[in-house]
């Protein structure tokens, strides 16, 4: 069985490593082959960018050589796919090489597109790359007072970021002795402070204690840099001195260019994780690349990748899939003041987040290091 994995992020790497372990004897005997095609030789721990923005981590701490994370049996090439020829069961890379497959795994991820909102790219800062996180850190260091406006586009990666960035920036500004000169103004697209109702209730209570103003039903329409204000689809206008954005996201451009899904999100079966439509029986979609109505988050990619690897191994060994993905997601929520909580849920079971505490924050800090074991498929 020839398995080709497109994308060397969290989903692709966990899938490939998990499968390589399960198919160890088949790989050695030449009965199976795993190939990974990536756009980069680096693997980035993206949740760490929040800490870069706050000056708590540096970008080099978040980066490893992808080859060093992979099981040795996996053939790894820095040669991104340019053309998906699903009807002929092969992909073509930038170098022109053709890779035939029996199973294709697409895990190309997502990217922020602040340019989709007029004025947002030019007038805001965010933390969706190391470079952007450093810029945000510079702006926070240079801030001398005024209004910090947090604004949120849809869809976006990491659903907890709007709250986390607000709470942790509040700490940062307080520690700089500027809290009396600063107003935090939080906006959110729906009628409460977060998509999860009980998280929203908790967050609004915290905001009230901290003096953070909030405006709900606020969907980004445009940013007027000359006037220093943001306008919403709902007709509101809010001024800012520092605009911190959670920009809208799209899937990778190669997905749109190959017409695999609008805005780069591939229609995916929520249980089997196979692509919907023609040729989907040979194509699995993982992580942010799916169009599933669940969080675009690292844990989603992780849990999906485990299910997909178990199923792929079972197909090789028994000719049938092992189990369905149940929609499991686990998200840490940094709550400021070195406290954190988490939300865990599935398609069937809603989350029941607990009050934030120091132990969960310590666990999150530990996980930032444990990630490198996790992505190898060791935990």
């Amino acid at each position: 069985m020839r398995i080709v994995v497109v994308g060397g992020g969290m989903a692709g790497t966990i899938f490939a490593n998990n499968l390589a372990r399960r198919l160890s004897s088949e790989l050695k005997a030449g009965k199976a082959r795993i190939t990974m095609l990536s756009a980069s030789d680096k693997h980035i721990y993206q949740p760490g960018w929040l800490y870069v923005a706050l000056g708590r981590m540096t970008p080099d701490e978040l980066e490893r050589e992808e080859a060093s994370l992979l099981e040795p049996e996996i053939a790894f090439f820095v040669d991104p796919v340019q053309s998906f020829r699903l009807g002929e069961s092969h992909v073509v890379t930038r170098s022109g090489k053709v890779h035939e497959y029996d199973l294709l795994v697409i895990a190309t991820g997502s990217r922020p597109v602040p340019e989709d909102v007029p004025g947002l790219k030019e007038n805001s800062v965010h933390c969706y790359s190391a470079e952007d996180a450093l810029k945000l850190h510079d702006r926070l260091q240079a801030f001398t007072g005024g209004r910090i406006l947090v604004t949120v586009g849809l869809p976006h990666k990491c659903p907890m970021i709007p709250l986390e960035i607000t709470f942790t920036m509040h700490d940062f500004i307080r520690d700089r002795g500027l809290i009396d000169k600063t107003e935090f103004y939080y906006t959110y697209p729906i009628g409460r402070a977060h998509s999860l109702e009980n998280v929203a209730t908790w967050a609004s209570g915290e905001f009230a204690k901290l003096g953070v103003r909030q405006e709900t039903f606020f969907n980004l329409k445009e940013v007027d840099g000359a006037k220093g204000c943001v306008r919403s689809e709902e007709g509101s206008e809010v001024k800012y001195d520092l605009l911190v954005a959670v920009p809208p996201h799209r899937g990778e451009a190669v997905i749109e260019e190959n017409k695999l899904g609008p805005n780069g999100w591939i229609p995916t079966d929520r249980y089997s994780l196979h692509m919907q439509g023609d040729h989907g029986e040979k194509v699995i979609v993982l992580g942010d690349t799916t169009n599933l109505p669940i969080s675009k988050a690292g844990s989603t990619a992780h849990f999906e990748a485990e299910v997909a690897a178990e199923n792929a191994a079972a197909m090789v060994k028994t000719g049938r899939a092992a189990r369905s993905y149940d929609g499991k997601v686990f998200c840490f929520i940094e709550a400021g003041k070195d406290r954190a909580t988490y939300a865990m849920f599935t398609y069937q079971k809603p989350p029941e987040p607990r009050a934030p505490n120091a132990a969960m924050h310590a666990f999150k800090m530990a996980y930032n290091q444990l990630y490198w074991a996790s992505v190898r498929g060791l935990m």
């Binding site: 989709d116 697209p189 039903f217 849920f345």
Partner: protein, 77 residues
């Protein structure tokens, strides 16, 4: 040509049905209708509230035998 698209947000707690609808609304043309499928009780309340605030048109809503809401929203601007 007027389009109709289904947004299947059953079982979505985060980002949730309304967030899925708002994101999908950006991808369709004025005049198109989105049919949002939601198993969330709150959708029958919060979707019409947002639609009214932003100025789109709530065409109708109904609940099927599986207790799934079907909310039909037309993009008006």
């Amino acid at each position: 040509m007027i389009g109709h698209r289904v947004v299947d947000a059953r079982g979505s707690f985060c980002p949730g049905p309304l967030m899925e609808l708002i994101a999908a609304m950006k991808q369709v043309a004025v005049g198109d209708t989105l049919e949002l499928l939601s198993s969330d009780e709150g959708s029958a309340r919060d979707v019409p509230e947002w639609v009214q605030k932003v100025g789109h048109v709530m065409e109708r809503s109904e609940r099927d035998d599986a207790r799934v809401w079907h909310l039909f929203v037309r993009k008006a601007k």
